[in-house]
């Protein structure tokens, strides 16, 4: 492998990782703070992509698509939370898995009824449709660089919000001790709704960023959901830092595994890595609780 190719594949791995992080961040927050396994996270990813593709098709503006679809996905998340999921915070993980499993089926079929079976086109934004030379011999698609930038910005933003703001303090308080947080005057229900909406917005954003490079179709959320779950547990449930590091790790392992290993092993590499890491550190790389 030449240096140029090594750099390009490294960028590919990093970009895939960052894309996974966008998904895993919301998942790990909801999982860690509300102790809720939310399998509909993949559905929100899909809804974000479909909404953006529709806005884009009607207006031709990618920015407008972002501006409309991200809040709309957050709203969809809020509705989902208020209508069904809220009453499952106190239930067992199994019940959560089952109800969200049922919701996946329902949301998929509803999406199919609205948008049909045929994959929906979603073009690249004009400014980002080219490629940039970043090293002699390495040209890289601008849009993928944009994904990289967005992902890193989100990571930075999450860090600032969670660690340095009042809202972040509430979130952390709500996560560690609900009763205590309520006593301190934090509206835990509101905080949970906010966190859920934020997670949904991130999933939607991930879907929108994935739209131009992949097929916008029913069922597009589930493969990504599995990878995001892998990232979440490798990083340690509830840890944003862990999610970022695990996502990049998975992105790089997957990219180089696919290129360097025979196909059968290449498909397995992520799962072998997860099994090895959990055997070594049963609570993930950055355990949050206890």
């Amino acid at each position: 492998m030449t240096t140029a190719l090594l750099i390009e594949q490294g960028l590919n791995g990093l970009q895939l990782g960052v894309q996974l992080f966008l998904m895993a961040a919301g998942l790990t927050l909801v999982f860690g703070i509300m102790n809720m396994i939310n399998l509909t996270h993949g559905s929100l990813f899909m809804v974000g992509a479909f909404l953006a593709a529709t806005v884009l098709a009607h207006t031709g503006s990618f920015v407008l698509a972002l501006v409309v679809a991200v809040p709309a996905t957050a709203l969809a998340g809020l509705v989902l939370e208020a209508a069904v999921l809220r009453r499952f915070y106190g239930r067992s993980h199994l019940d959560q898995v089952l109800v969200t499993f049922g919701l996946i089926m329902v949301i998929n079929e509803l999406t199919r009824m609205v948008w049909g079976n045929v994959p929906v086109p979603m073009a690249l934004p004009q400014v980002l449709s080219g490629a940039v030379t970043i090293y002699p011999g390495v040209t890289y698609p601008s849009f993928r660089l944009a994904i990289l930038a967005v992902g890193l910005l989100v990571a930075l933003g999450l860090y600032v919000v969670v660690v340095h703001t009042r809202v972040g303090m509430w979130v952390r308080a709500g996560a560690s001790d609900r009763a205590m947080a309520s006593a301190m005057g934090v509206n835990v229900g509101l905080v949970f709704s906010l966190v859920f909406a934020a997670g949904a917005a991130l999933a939607g954003l991930a879907g929108i960023m994935a739209g131009p490079i992949s097929a916008v179709q029913v069922g597009m959320g589930e493969p990504v959901l599995i990878l995001a779950l892998v990232v979440t547990v490798i990083g340690g449930i509830g840890s944003i830092k862990g999610a970022l590091i695990a996502a990049v790790l998975i992105g790089l392992a997957d990219t180089f595994g696919r290129v360097l290993l025979p196909p059968a092993l290449g498909s397995m590499i992520i799962f072998m890595m997860m099994a090895a890491i959990l055997a070594w550190r049963p609570r993930g790389l950055f355990p949050v609780h206890g």
Partner: protein
């Protein structure tokens, strides 16, 4: 104790109700409608393909007045969820519970392999409008098994012929790591015979191809031949174009990777790539023009190559049954009628080979934008007239 008993009774009830709901009394008579089991993939990410086949098959039925050989048709729909064992179970149900006489609609080869055996064992016909596994073209060929669409390798072999005859050097091969993917690449290699710049298999259902595309670029090939059906095709072609390779290294594939199941999802990015095919939207025979017009009117989209075969499928059944006065119950007669079927194919030349797979013309086509700005396939040149598959020699019918 009462509770225990009623618990068990309710449990039994739940099971029995479910089971009983499947039961339908029956009796087969010749004046009854012909029963066709349409077993296809309707759910999950591949659900689009089943729907495409179903829509086109129904349109074909409509074009024959809703009858086959003058008899009414009862179409029983079933979802295999792209899982072989589910396909086998639903095929069993169609045979034993619905008493279908023909099983059709299957998309995937592995589902076909699982579902065809019990169907044929039960004496019913398998009439494939899509899945074309090599096993049933060769060693497993069966008097009651017909495939009117294609054998997996055929379009790849056609593309191999074109690339060889046009001296395209150092072709780079890519396909998903599953049986049809391997069939397609094997088919290309069978006729291309030139030096390969690389041969890469990716995971089935893979979303991101950036790493493979980087390797591809580094290998500096003369052309790329790829087989990615469905969503994988959309992902790959979009990402290939975004990597700036579309005008540097030409993209060749079978039409399943570049037809109307995929092109709308890609948008303009695929324009300028080439597909081998047995039918395109611009075929100028009357039957084909009617098909495209009717399909667009009925479903508001252009038909794909999948649809073209499904549409022809209904019309083949009609023509064969017409020849024997609709007597599908006479299995030998029906088999002979199918073997020598004459009908007005939208694909132009069509006849069944000795192994009950098609002999037809293959063409090269290019992805262009049509008058309405939609990406479509435009027929360019004939690659091979009366192309047959490569397994017919292994078939000793009966």
């Amino acid at each position: 104790m009462t509770m225990i008993a009623s618990r068990a009774a309710t449990a039994a009830l739940v099971v029995m109700c479910g089971v009983a709901a499947l039961a339908l009394p029956h009796a087969a008579r010749a004046d009854e409608p012909i029963k066709i089991g349409f077993l296809s993939t309707f759910s999950g990410p591949q659900g689009q393909l089943g729907q495409e086949l179903f829509d086109a098959f129904n349109l074909g039925l409509k074009s024959t007045g809703g009858t086959l050989g003058g008899r009414k048709v009862e179409l029983i729909q079933g979802d295999d969820q792209a899982k072989p064992d589910v396909g086998r179970q639903v095929a069993d149900k169609m045979i034993e519970s619905d008493h279908v006489q023909i099983l059709t609609g299957i998309v995937f080869s592995n589902v076909m392999l699982a579902a065809a055996k019990p169907t044929l064992d039960a004496g019913a016909f398998v009439f494939s409008i899509n899945a074309g596994p090599s096993q049933y073209a060769g060693k497993l060929c069966h008097p009651h098994y017909f495939n009117e669409s294609f054998q997996n390798d055929m379009l790849a072999e056609a593309m191999g012929i074109y690339l060889r005859e046009n001296s395209v050097k150092r072709v780079y091969l890519m396909a998903p790591n599953y049986p049809a993917g391997k069939d397609f690449l094997a088919g290309l290699k069978r006729t291309y015979k030139g030096e390969l710049a690389g041969e890469v298999y990716t995971a089935f259902g893979q979303l991101d191809y950036a790493a493979e595309i980087a390797q591809l670029r580094a290998a500096d090939p003369g052309a790329v031949f790829f087989f990615y059906p469905g969503g994988m095709g959309i992902n790959f072609v979009k990402q290939y174009a975004q990597a700036g390779l579309m005008d540097k290294v030409r993209l060749y594939g079978p039409s399943f990777s570049l037809d109307q199941t995929i092109l709308p999802g890609i948008g303009d990015a695929a324009v300028g790539s080439f597909a081998s095919t047995f039918w395109t939207e611009d075929f100028d025979n009357a039957a084909s023009k009617k098909f495209v017009a009717d399909f667009e009117a009925a479903y508001g989209r252009l038909p794909s190559t999948y649809a073209s075969a499904a549409y022809d499928g209904a019309r083949i059944l009609d023509a064969a049954l017409k020849a024997i006065g609709g007597r599908i119950e006479d299995k030998d007669a029906f088999q002979k009628a199918l073997e020598s079927v004459k009908f007005d194919s939208i694909r132009g030349h069509f006849k069944f080979n000795t192994n009950h797979y098609p002999i037809m013309d293959s063409y090269l086509s290019e992805v262009i934008k049509d008058a309405k700005g939609r990406p479509t396939l435009k027929r360019l040149e004939l690659i091979k007239a009366d192309q047959a598959d490569s397994y017919a020699a292994e078939c000793a019918m009966k």
